[in-house]
């Protein structure tokens, strides 16, 4: 692409990829084969919240924008990938201040947060599904007002959710009456945050970054990955693109995410 270098920030997606709790998996089967039909053709069955995908407001808002109603101008443009991977451990919290200490975020930017967590995804360097799904970091609640003030429309994380597990089924009810994963997640967070736990994760903050931001058309990409760990992409200005297929009426869609870097 002329003097522009492309970086793929998407995770591979197939039937092996872990799926979000309570959502059906990605299934694929062949319905035509070369020998019989002269062609290979597949049929897929899936929820939208797998692999690298963009959530549309409709995911949480009745009559919110669907994938096809998100302007391409929001999906392509200037932005930054902030690297917080060296300071984030299991179930840690990151704040807007931590982001701004590392890179200047301008109004209307596309903002991706590199936590390093994508390495634990199915096709990451060191796959660990429990760590990837149950014990990823998450944002401090102040990120909501900060993103709105920054007029950010599209942000994204290299994790399964933009919310902290304590604001998700994972830390609240996953496995209740069964494997009780939520209890173990909560116990780690109690040790980590002590008395501040209920202040950091009040009851009403359930899926905070979804419920509080989607009404403002501030939406996000989950499960970023691919080359997002490349150091030359971090903490600098570049051009980012998020490309879901044109799913009319879609509450979310798989997408290809790309960093475009002009080579000097």
């Amino acid at each position: 692409m002329g003097s522009v270098k492309l970086y793929d920030l998407s995770q591979p997606l197939n039937q092996e990829v872990s799926f979000w709790p309570f959502y059906p998996p990605f299934e694929v089967k062949y319905i035509k084969r070369k020998a019989e039909h002269g062609v290979n053709a597949q049929y897929i069955m899936t929820s939208n919240h797998m692999g690298t995908h963009l959530d549309a407001p409709r995911h949480f808002i009745t009559n919110g924008k669907t994938i096809d109603q998100i302007p391409l101008e929001w999906l392509y443009g200037p932005g930054v990938i902030v690297d917080l991977s060296d300071v984030l451990d299991e179930l840690d919290i990151f704040t807007p201040e931590m982001i701004e200490q590392r890179v200047e975020v301008r109004k209307g930017d596309i903002l991706f947060i590199h936590t390093g967590w994508h390495r634990y995804a199915q096709f990451g360097e060191t796959p660990d599904e429990e760590k990837y799904l149950l014990r990823h970091p998450g944002p401090h609640p102040s990120i909501v007002d900060w993103l709105i003030a920054k007029k950010i429309k599209i942000w994204g994380v290299d994790m399964v959710s933009t919310d902290h597990p304590m604001n998700l089924p994972i830390g609240r009810f996953l496995g209740r009456g069964g494997l009780e994963q939520w209890k173990r997640v909560r116990a780690i967070c109690e040790r980590k945050f002590g008395e501040k736990l209920t202040e950091l994760f009040p009851e009403e903050h359930y899926q905070l970054t979804h419920n509080a931001l989607f009404p403002h058309d501030c939406i996000h990409v989950e499960n970023l990955g691919g080359e997002i760990s490349r150091r030359e992409l971090h903490n600098r200005r570049l051009t980012l693109g998020v490309f879901p297929w044109l799913f009319k009426g879609g509450e979310a869609a798989f997408c290809r995410v790309v960093a475009f870097v002009e080579e000097s």
Binding site: L13, Q42, R256
Partner: protein, 273 residues
């Protein structure tokens, strides 16, 4: 040639994808259903099922080649690049017509634009106006007609496939149902009732026009060379005709996929819009 990304606007060359979008002949279209609702589960979630040859999609070599490259294996560098957008409607090409190298070489002479080795070739037949999921066309020009779209669009013969290889085209995109002529696909059998109409238009027999040995030549002859294609392109394509511009094809990163829905866009400097 460099491109100033900061000055680029993105135009959408993709068609809508929903339950009304028709799949290719004998391919099931999309099913979309809500499986979670905000009122009950505090989040809304859909479940989809579909074949992959629906709406704007990219075929991978695996579609026709056992063990061929899948969608995730196609490098991003190949999917973004310079493209010549050739408008065939200026040569009066229409229902059942056959286009060939001569039209593209004429286009080079007429526009002064040289189709360079490694370029992407986007073929505008104008038939995207007939696609039921066309959205960008002026409503006055939109003429949804799926029979015309699938059965009557123009297409090439082996001469064009050979020319594409000779000119080292990287990959192709078409604003119609198939990169092949409809009567060079399974449509020849399932709409055999229209073969006489096709033959009458050309004054030749179908076996002379499209010999059996050339069946689906744009797939069979080109995929082994990695020359793949987008089908059902459209969207705002009318805004970029007869130009050489930067385009990008973005399928989701489907590991093992023989095809994938994709977003197809043009990156155009603001002052050239």
């Amino acid at each position: 040639m460099a491109i100033d990304l900061a000055r680029c606007r993105v135009l959408d060359l993709s068609q809508d994808w929903d339950i009304h979008t028709p799949g290719f002949a004998l391919y099931e279209g999309p099913t979309v259903k809500w499986i979670k609702r905000v009122a009950f589960e505090r989040a809304g979630g859909q479940w989809i099922s579909s074949t992959l040859h629906v709406g704007t999609h990219l075929d991978a070599p695996l579609h026709f080649i056992t063990g061929g490259q899948d969608i995730a294996a196609i490098p991003l560098n190949k999917l973004v690049g310079w493209a010549c957008i050739v408008d065939l409607t200026r040569y009066g090409i229409g229902d059942y017509d056959i286009y060939g190298p001569e039209h593209f070489e004429q286009w080079e002479r007429d526009t002064g634009i040289r189709i360079q080795p490694g370029d992407i070739l986007v073929i505008h037949t104008g038939y995207h106006h007939y696609y039921p999921s066309d959205w960008a066309t002026d409503p006055a020009l939109r003429q949804p007609d799926e029979t015309r779209y699938f059965i009557k669009h123009p297409g090439p013969t082996r001469a064009f496939a050979d020319w594409v290889l000779w000119r080292q085209i990287s990959w192709l995109a078409v604003d119609c149902a198939s990169a092949d002529h409809p009567f060079n696909t399974v449509i020849r059998k399932i709409r055999a009732d229209l073969v006489p109409e096709f033959e009458a238009k050309h004054g030749k027999s179908i076996s002379e026009l499209l010999p059996d040995s050339d069946y689906q030549v744009m797939h069979f002859a080109l995929f082994p060379h990695g020359v793949i294609h987008i089908e059902n392109a459209g969207g705002e394509i009318d805004k970029v005709l007869n130009r050489r511009i930067m385009v990008g094809c973005f399928p989701w990163r489907f590991k093992g996929g023989e095809a994938a829905f994709c977003r197809f866009v043009a990156f155009v400097p603001e002052d050239e819009l």
